[in-house]
């Protein structure tokens, strides 16, 4: 109760600053969202969806909140360092939840009609375009953290690909967290792909200072008819941070979407993913891979809504858990009454490496149509003894054999990443992570705690 009151008070006290440039519809949205959040409150342990992840204590901490981009001294070289540096991409930097653009405009419009940059700027420059989608995909009533974000969010990334345009280079969004005090960051992204559009988006998260960061982000994604989107999220924050991501995707007719989440580091991570296939013949494939150790906690919550016939969905989630880390997977496939000819598949495999590691998995099928092929599978186990023995009998050291088996285990997910250079980079990062090596520069003190 008290935590809820804190946020309500914060909202009402700073109501003017929070929504200083709001258009009327955004203002209404915020008011509705805070009301909805007031009703739902922070999800407690009794709530089925949050049974294994209790976030209220994290939100209760001493956290500062920025209404405007704060001027922060940073090292230029440091800020542009990234886990996926080799990629030829359009890099967009988000610093503490605000689009960071020291050298460019806040909103970049290309000749072929592509628009990308700050969401805040976009909502004033292209009000009709933003209004059509903002808040329409992720509903505050479905999810308390979406409501909280809707009420407080200030900025984020807006990406618009017009009809028939293919974005040649991937968009790379780097979320940087750098502060001198503990901080809560709530940014909001909106990606819109019109009919026949194609784009690839990579999102990376980095913490650059050892303070505690709490991120509650919302990404709303719309893929129009026949559009093709590849969205990959690489989570690599330090272990003192907490991240709640809410990704809501609406897919139109025959669109194709691949969504991937790779979690390497991060204290408490909760990923909410909801894909609604609201057009016939849509296809989606979601990947998830998490590697946890120490006291890390990663909870993946996915909902795939098959609202229309002839849609296909595939989910591959894998986890490797070491030390006292905990993992949770809660995946739901919901096939609506008229969604005939649905094909849905879901798998969740996990490996426990230590006695203190824990895994909770709950794959769910809710099916209301009869002409469907749906299946799911979940396993929790350890490295295969026979496999280990086989490798050792061929002269490979035990530790190396274990790594090889783990590499092979994670490869099932990684191999499904379409872009070859990205796939290669992720393979390397995961390999390094499994070996306990640092993925970033050696003088970075972030991951050594």
């Amino acid at each position: 109760m008290q935590t809820l009151d804190k946020y309500l008070e914060l909202f009402h006290k700073y109501r003017k600053q929070i929504g200083r440039d709001d258009l009327p519809y955004v203002k209404e949205m915020r008011d509705a969202a805070i009301l909805s959040f007031q009703q739902s409150g922070f999800p407690g342990r009794k709530e089925e969806r949050y049974k294994y992840t209790h976030l209220e204590p994290v939100f209760d901490g001493e956290l500062s909140f920025d209404f405007q981009p704060r001027k922060i001294d940073y090292d230029e070289a440091e800020i542009f360092s990234c886990d996926v540096p080799m990629l030829d991409s359009n890099v967009l930097t988000v610093l503490n939840g605000f689009f960071h653009h020291p050298e460019t405009e806040a909103l970049i419009s290309l000749n072929n009609g592509i628009i990308y940059g700050s969401l805040k700027e976009a909502s004033t420059q292209y009000p009709d375009l933003v209004k059509k989608y903002l808040g329409k995909i992720a509903s505050s009533n479905d999810e308390p953290f979406v409501a909280l974000n809707t009420a407080f969010s200030q900025d984020g990334i807006f990406l618009y690909i017009p009809e028939g345009v293919r974005m040649e280079r991937p968009i790379q969004i780097i979320n940087l967290l750098l502060s001198d005090k503990n901080q809560i960051v709530q940014h909001r992204n909106l990606f819109v792909l019109e009919k026949n559009a194609e784009a690839q988006v990579i999102v990376c998260d980095h913490t650059l200072s050892p303070q505690m960061f709490l991120t509650n982000s919302v990404s709303e994604v719309y893929t129009g008819e026949n559009a093709n989107l590849d969205l990959l999220r690489l989570q690599n924050e330090h272990n003192n941070s907490c991240q709640v991501t809410n990704t809501w995707i609406n897919q139109d007719r025959n669109s194709n979407c691949q969504h991937g989440t790779i979690t390497l580091h991060g204290g408490i991570v909760r990923n909410n993913l909801r894909i609604n296939m609201e057009g016939e013949g849509a296809e989606t494939s979601t990947l998830g891979l998490f590697l946890t150790d120490k006291m890390q906690h990663v909870d993946s919550y996915t909902v795939i809504e098959h609202s229309k016939p002839h849609c296909t969905s595939n989910q591959y989630y894998k986890g490797v858990l070491d030390d006292a880390s905990t993992g949770a997977f809660n995946g739901k496939i919901h096939v609506h009454p008229d969604a005939q000819m649905t094909k849905a598949f879901q798998s969740n495999n996990n490996i426990l490496l230590s006695d203190a590691a824990r895994m909770y998995t709950k794959p769910r099928l809710e099916i209301y149509a009869d002409d469907v092929k749906c299946s799911h599978g979940a396993t929790v186990g350890q490295l295969d003894e026979e496999g280990l023995f086989y490798l050792q009998s061929r002269g490979i050291a035990k530790d190396e054999s274990r790594l090889m088996l783990m590499d092979a285990f994670t490869w099932d997910v990684i191999s499904k990443i379409k872009q070859p250079s990205l796939r290669g980079r992720i393979t390397e990062l995961v390999g390094k992570r499994l070996r306990g090596e640092l993925s970033r520069c050696n003088n970075c003190a972030m991951h050594c705690d």
Partner: protein
């Protein structure tokens, strides 16, 4: 309309076969539930003081609880003050021989396909027939008594073996366990008690038939099976209920205690009245079934065929406490018309090298909802625990739902836990394959459904398999030959 649709419609339209009512005077108490009623039930059954107290304790606890809402079920609110909590057939005489048994009662059993007079000749089946709440006739007691096996009604056991009841009742399912367990602990009417002494291999299948009869009565049975070290018992439970308009409440508790090197096999065929085609009437079936493998190397096996009830809420569970103990759960659940079922199991792995297998087959037709909900929990102490779960759903019709909610909680790295589930309808190619080999569509569906459920039906004891097949045939009438 294609042949297949026609057959599916016939299936969906089939009537409840066992819908008849026996006209026997029943002794009832007024409607409603309060402490006084609990006391009356206890007094009517001439129970000792400690049991009355335990009932009252459960009742007081129940009053503080709320009806659970987590199941994937739509249950209209139940008015507990509108239910009669005790009904017993009036002719309560102890029968010396078969001639004294009420002919009408015998007729009822005949129509159910379990002629009482033939029981003695039937292949080793002893029947403790529970008519509403009071045990009417117990057979084969002498044969069992020779071996030291106690198999009697729960109230007899309270009178004759109070120590055993006191020791084991509530030890697996305490009254605080859940809403319906608390209710049952307060108002349970009768049930069966079975005790297998150390080292005894029970020579025959023990079985009980339950049958709700008097209108407006809830039946709250309690079954307690205690199997001492090195023993074996196979227990059968079957239910059929006559047709009724008003919903009837059924909240039972089954407890199994298994010692060391013990095997307990519990089989159920459940066919309570499912309600009519509009979803009116039918039994509410809320059952708490749980077994514990106390000692090492024990095995508890649950097999169930669920075809009846308007609402089923049932999770036969195993607590695998002893090392190397084994839990099994085999289930076929068929729902039709407006039936709703939320059923599954819980496997709690505590001991080392414990193993569990879950095979669940759901078949939904009409406008029914069929859910599997299961928990596999591996505790830190359960080294090398192993679980395999398979949950398949078959959909017959486009208005029904099939759902799977498995929970896997693993707290030990040496554990291997696997879960698999599929949902599909009968493939047209499968039917086509049968057709082109001269099997008509009706028989083809029968063949496929039979094959689909066979894995579970095979686990039923011989004596029960016949009835199980009959029930499947009734529920899927027109498609099963």
């Amino acid at each position: 309309m294609t042949d297949q649709e026609k057959i599916l419609n016939e299936v969906t339209d089939s009537d409840y076969k066992f819908g008849f009512q026996t006209n026997i005077d029943t002794e009832t108490i007024p409607k409603g539930l309060n402490e006084e009623v609990v006391r009356i039930i206890s007094a009517k059954k001439e129970e000792p003081k400690w049991l009355t107290e335990s009932r009252l304790k459960a009742f007081r606890h129940w009053q503080t609880m709320k009806m659970p809402q987590w199941a994937h079920l739509r249950i209209p609110e139940i008015n507990y003050q509108d239910i009669i909590f005790y009904a017993a057939p009036k002719q309560e005489a102890k029968y010396e021989n078969m001639d004294e048994v009420d002919p009408e009662l015998i007729d009822t059993f005949n129509r159910l396909g379990i002629p009482l007079e033939e029981q003695k000749q039937l292949a080793g089946v002893a029947v403790d027939a529970v008519m509403d709440s009071v045990s009417v006739k117990t057979t084969f007691q002498d044969t069992l008594a020779d071996k030291g096996i106690i198999f009697c009604s729960f109230s007899d056991a309270v009178k004759n073996h109070p120590d055993l009841i006191k020791k084991y009742m509530g030890s697996v399912v305490p009254y605080t366990d859940n809403y319906f367990a608390a209710l049952n602990s307060a108002v349970f009417s009768d049930g069966s008690f079975c005790y297998i002494p150390k080292g005894v291999h029970c020579p025959m299948e023990l079985s009980t038939y339950f049958r709700i009869n008097a209108a407006n009565t809830g039946q709250f049975e309690r079954t307690l099976i205690v199997a001492e070290d090195d023993s074996f018992v196979s227990y059968l439970e079957g239910c059929t209920a006559p047709m009724r308009d008003e919903n009837q409440l059924h909240a039972a508790i089954v407890e199994i205690v298994a010692g060391e090197n013990t095997e307990v096999k519990y089989s159920t065929v459940q066919n309570w009245y499912p309600g009519n085609k509009e979803g009116k009437g039918g039994i509410y079936n809320f059952v708490t079934k749980r077994g514990i493998c106390r000692g090492d190397n024990s095995k508890i096996s649950w097999t169930q065929v669920e075809t009846g009830s308007a609402v089923t809420w049932k999770y036969p569970s195993c607590i695998l406490k002893g090392n190397n103990s084994v839990g099994e759960f085999y289930s076929v659940a068929v729902t039709n018309n407006y039936q709703q079922a939320d059923t599954g199991t819980k496997m709690i792995h505590i001991g080392k090298n414990t193993r569990s297998t879950i095979i669940s087959k759901g078949i939904s037709a009409g406008k029914s909802e069929n859910s599997y909900r299961g928990l596999v929990k591996v505790l830190k102490s359960a080294e090398n625990a192993r679980n395999y779960s398979q949950c398949d759903s078959l959909l017959l019709g486009d208005k029904c739902g099939a759902h799977t909610f498995p929970y896997l909680e693993v707290d030990n790295r040496s554990a291997v836990v696997e879960h698999e589930a599929t949902t599909s309808k009968i493939g047209e190619d499968q039917i086509f394959y049968c057709n082109q080999r001269g099997i008509d569509t009706e028989n083809a569906i029968s063949l496929i459904v039979n094959g689909y459920a066979k894995e579970v039906l095979n686990k039923l004891p011989m004596e029960f398999a016949v009835e199980a097949q009959k029930l499947l045939a009734i529920t899927l009438e027109g498609s099963v030959g």
